[in-house]
Amino acid sequence: MQNWKHWRLVVESNGLGFLTFDRAKPDGSPDSTNTFSSEALRELGAVCTHLAANPVKGLAIQSAKDNGFAAGADIDEFTSFKSVEEAVAMTKLGLDVFDQVAALPFPTVAMIHGFCMGGGTELALACRYRIADEGPKTKMALPEVMLGIVPGWGGAQRMPHLIGAGQALGLMLTGRAVNARTAKRMGLVDVVTPRRHFTNAATMLLQKPPAPHQPALKDAVTNWPVIRGFVASASRKQVAKKARRDHYPAPYAIIDVWEKYDGDPRKVPVGADGSMQKLFEHPTARNLIRIFKLQDRLKALGAGSSDIKHVHVVGAGVMGGDIAAWCALKGMKVTLQDLDHERIAPAIKRAAALYKKKFKEAHLVQAAMDRLIPDVKGDGVANCDLVIEAIVENAEIKKTLYASIEPRLKPGAILATNTSSIPLQELAPGLARPERLVGVHFFNPVAMMMLVEIVQGPQTSDEVMKSAQVFVKKINKLPLPVKSAPGFLVNRILTPYMTEAQIMLEEGIPAETIDAAAKEFGMPMGPIELADTVGLDVGLAVGTELHKQGNPQPQKIQELVAAKKLGKKTGEGFYKWVNGHPQKSNGSGTVDLAPLWMRMTLPAVNEAVACVREGIVQDADLCDAGVIFGTGFAPHRGGPINYLRSAGREGLLDEMKALHERHGVRFAPDSGWMSV
């Protein structure tokens, strides 16, 4: 046995080597997850040098961590680099070390369980064979595109070679993770077996090494020179539908690097478009990596263990029903209460569809359905650990409900409300124990939106706040603690933007043009389409709740709601909807969209500044995280405060002043504009 700081090599009596990756912290104790620091990479290079001089009959590489094989590059190290050159040097180091692995003069196999992301997948690809654990936790991906960069440690080269460029680009351009069975079907892994058989499987593979996997002809042709150009241009067209090159250069770079340089970033000339320098210099990569780290920060806010096992949800509407379904999906026992079974049934139907999509196996669908219990009589109240109230947005009705629920709760149970705009101060009076009332505000659609605002009223205890945060993390959402003020954080920031868009619409600017402008800024969906999607009744309620004296109020939305035209769900709102798609007329013409998106987004930025100044969230970073994960606000711009900082406070302040003059007081810059 030979030990490095992060690696252990054992050569068995049969001549096979087993190399274990066990990433250590700086103090030498084991880290929780395997990530590649430059030190870990250099050590792997040293292991290879040692093995080249002292060859074994075959080498199996495994992880010592229970959570997975390897999660990729050490992001902390990556973000600590002072210069682009350091980042580029790290890329080259990884490439060279994994080339050393690939060049070892004996068969090699990666034994993959759990997370195998980015650099983890690239190390696996450098081996001759791959074995994957058949369990549901196995996830393989090259998610670099989500951080605005190219898979730089050989993945962009080896994956197209192994499984064909068609499949490989599909994975690299989306960053999508595949499970073991899909990986096997694609040719990404050679053997799928339970982890308990890893040693036997690796031993059998290495003792009688078969020919390495070759892509099937239909996959192999995508790499052929003539076809390559077609595949590249078809892929560019696909990408163009989702992301603009100036916003998101990485997917285009992935295609370029593969097409012109066979996926080897070392061959890309310095300064060329797809080069690592260009990508690292681009603000998108910096912003996306920042968001990735902010995501970790939100997760850390929910660190700890939770005793919550049984959730009682009151209100089986769109939000309540979907919250209940999500909690059951994540292993909670859930009782779902509404006035009758007919009101609960649509939630059960949606849950069944969600579980079918999330779980491929019928017994897992059944288990989740078994955990989701219709409860018309509200029997769950007495036994649950957490109540989530998701009934109509009316303080009096909510208080009446609490009065009937609270006396039946277990001593330690938490009472949470999913209210999207009513401050807890209005709901707490009358409670026997107001300290256990907390806001747990999910976003629609629940299954898609990562963020949950944890709203602290003045009466909410810190202990209850912490429990709510831990619970939200436990169900795989991102908890964001916010203070209880009207609209909390996300809706408060989103509302001025949505309102301005509707005012512009009433001024006669076509909805299509407004939506196109927002998308040019980088929003995933335009505000008019978004209003229709969320439901105009919901939007109107929030808009009215947050309306400030003296500001204009959009009229059309009131007329539409009065006419029961509520948007997507009724087939008509601002748009007509057919088969779930808004019917938009073509041609916003050649209007300059920038002034339009400036006018819509600056009120949101202004409100974000106010939120940070008022301490609605702890700091500006968490504000950005909340707005991005709660609304999808232009991720490549890194959130409203980051946008303010990077686009220049003075310049934007001038824009605000001009808008203030033209449109009135709602554009008055917040006092924190220059300091936040």
Binding site: K333, T335, H341, E342, I344, A345, P346, I348, K349, A352, Q366, A367, M369, D370, R371, I373, P374, D375, V376, K377, D379, G380, A382, N383
Partner: protein, 425 residues
């Protein structure tokens, strides 16, 4: 003697089998009512000492359905569970097994009941097909396989319908319906009497439903978002006149037992919680009632419908009771002929003397206290569940009427009767 309490119970709506597979498996049904039942208890599902489920025809992928149900409702790894089978009384057998284990001091808190999704009863290959398939799998070479292929006959594909096999007595080779015809013949029960009884069963269920007598039903919702709230075999248009138009289905042409005056083939489950005195005290429970005695008896399989007479009579006698000391009597309505046969048998001096060894007729049951809210002819008879349903409904009736004592009983294919004596204080 120790007391054995019934704490609470719930059942699914009974859903008539309509040819195609019903929306729920036997496991789904038991889970559907048990999880609602458990959600309102003061104790955790992990507190049970055991789970016992009666099922006469569990599907192939729910072997030991008791354990399947226990795990699905969250009883956890450590609660043992088992499945019992006594044909039409499987659900009552589960209760009796729980009762016995509590009496013996081995268990204190038991989840017990019954379930069957009769619409899911399998179609089987006949012996000819099974043997042909064995030859096919054994054939290795192309030549051998070609040889096997030539021996195939289309008739091999005709399925064996398991439910028809299950409802035919293998000893006397009579369908259950034919045994009811024999009972009718013995006591002179006419087609008109059967149809009148059947029509009244529907009417009693409808009246009971309108009066809110079926609070034990827990509605179900399937994955398509369809709500099942009530027993769907109950008909508002079932009259003597309409029933008279149906053809006899068992003894065809000359018989009297029709689909209309027999119980329906149905999917359903009923689950109850049984507890010892200690468990009642420990969890501060408020029991629905108590099981004070039970009885299993055997008789000629060709007259299996008279089973309740053979089970109830000795049970009442040893408790010093007569028929009308009961405030409520539930006899599962497998067939109108069979239920009327039971009532006639008790009134028959000859039968009571000859078959029960009594000195005279046992008595006439007051119809006002007997199957007050109708029975299986209208509600349906998921055979594994019915035994638990009649016990639960008898207790619910005592609760509603402030009655003191009830009995619940079923006839059992193969020539048996089962009965339970229930009390409420």
């Amino acid at each position: 003697m120790k007391k054995v309490y019934v704490v609470d119970g719930a059942r699914t709506p009974f859903l008539k089998a309509k040819g195609k597979l019903g929306p729920f498996s036997g496991g789904d049904l038991a889970v559907g009512c048990a999880r609602a039942l458990l959600a309102r208890q003061k104790f955790s599902p992990t507190a049970f000492d055991e789970v016992i489920v009666g099922a006469a025809m569990p599907s192939a992928d729910e072997a030991n359905i008791g354990r399947v149900v226990a795990l699905r409702v969250g009883c956890g790894d450590k609660v043992p569970a088992w499945t019992v089978m006594r044909n039409c009384a499987s659900g009552m057998q589960a209760l009796d097994s729980a009762y016995m284990n509590i009496l013996a001091g081995k268990s204190h808190l038991v989840l017990a009941g019954g379930t069957d999704a009769m619409s899911h009863a399998p179609l089987l290959f006949g012996p000819a097909m099974v043997n042909w398939l064995a030859d096919w799998y054994a054939a290795k070479s192309f030549g051998q396989r070609a040889g096997v292929v030539t021996k195939f006959r289309l008739s091999y594909l005709v399925p064996v319908i398991a439910i028809l096999k299950g409802l035919t007595d293998p000893i006397v080779k009579l369908s259950m319906g034919s045994t009811a015809e024999i009972v009718a013949k013995r006591f002179g029960i006419t087609r008109e009497m059967m149809d009148a009884f059947a029509a009244e069963s529907h009417q009693r269920v409808l009246a009971g439903r309108a009066a809110g007598h079926f609070s034990e039903i827990e509605p179900l919702i399937d994955a398509a978002g369809i709500v099942y709230k009530e027993d769907d075999g109950v008909r508002t248009d079932s009259t003597k006149e309409r029933l008279a138009k149906l053809r006899p289905v068992f003894d065809k042409t000359y018989g009297s037992v029709t689909a209309g005056n027999a119980s329906q083939v149905t999917d359903g489950a009923a689950m109850l919680i049984l507890a010892s005195e200690e468990a009642v005290a420990r969890y501060d429970l408020n029991p629905l009632g108590a099981i004070v005695d039970s009885q299993w008896s055997g008789l000629d399989p060709a007259e299996m419908g008279l089973g309740p007479v053979h089970a109830i009579t000795p049970m009442l006698l040893r408790n010093g009771l007569g028929l009308n000391d009961l405030d409520c009597l539930e006899i599962n309505e497998a067939f109108a002929a069979q239920v009327l046969g039971c009532l006639a048998a008790w009134e028959s001096e000859a039968y009571c003397k000859e078959k029960l060894g009594l000195s005279g007729a046992f008595g006439a049951m007051d119809r006002a206290k007997f199957n007050v809210d109708g029975g299986a002819i209208a509600i349906g008879h998921p055979i594994g569940a019915s035994g638990a349903r009649v016990v639960l409904h008898a207790l619910k009736t005592l609760e509603r009427t402030s009655g003191k004592r009830a009995a619940a009983s079923l006839c059992i294919g193969g020539g048996q009767g089962g009965a339970m004596l229930l009390e409420r204080s």
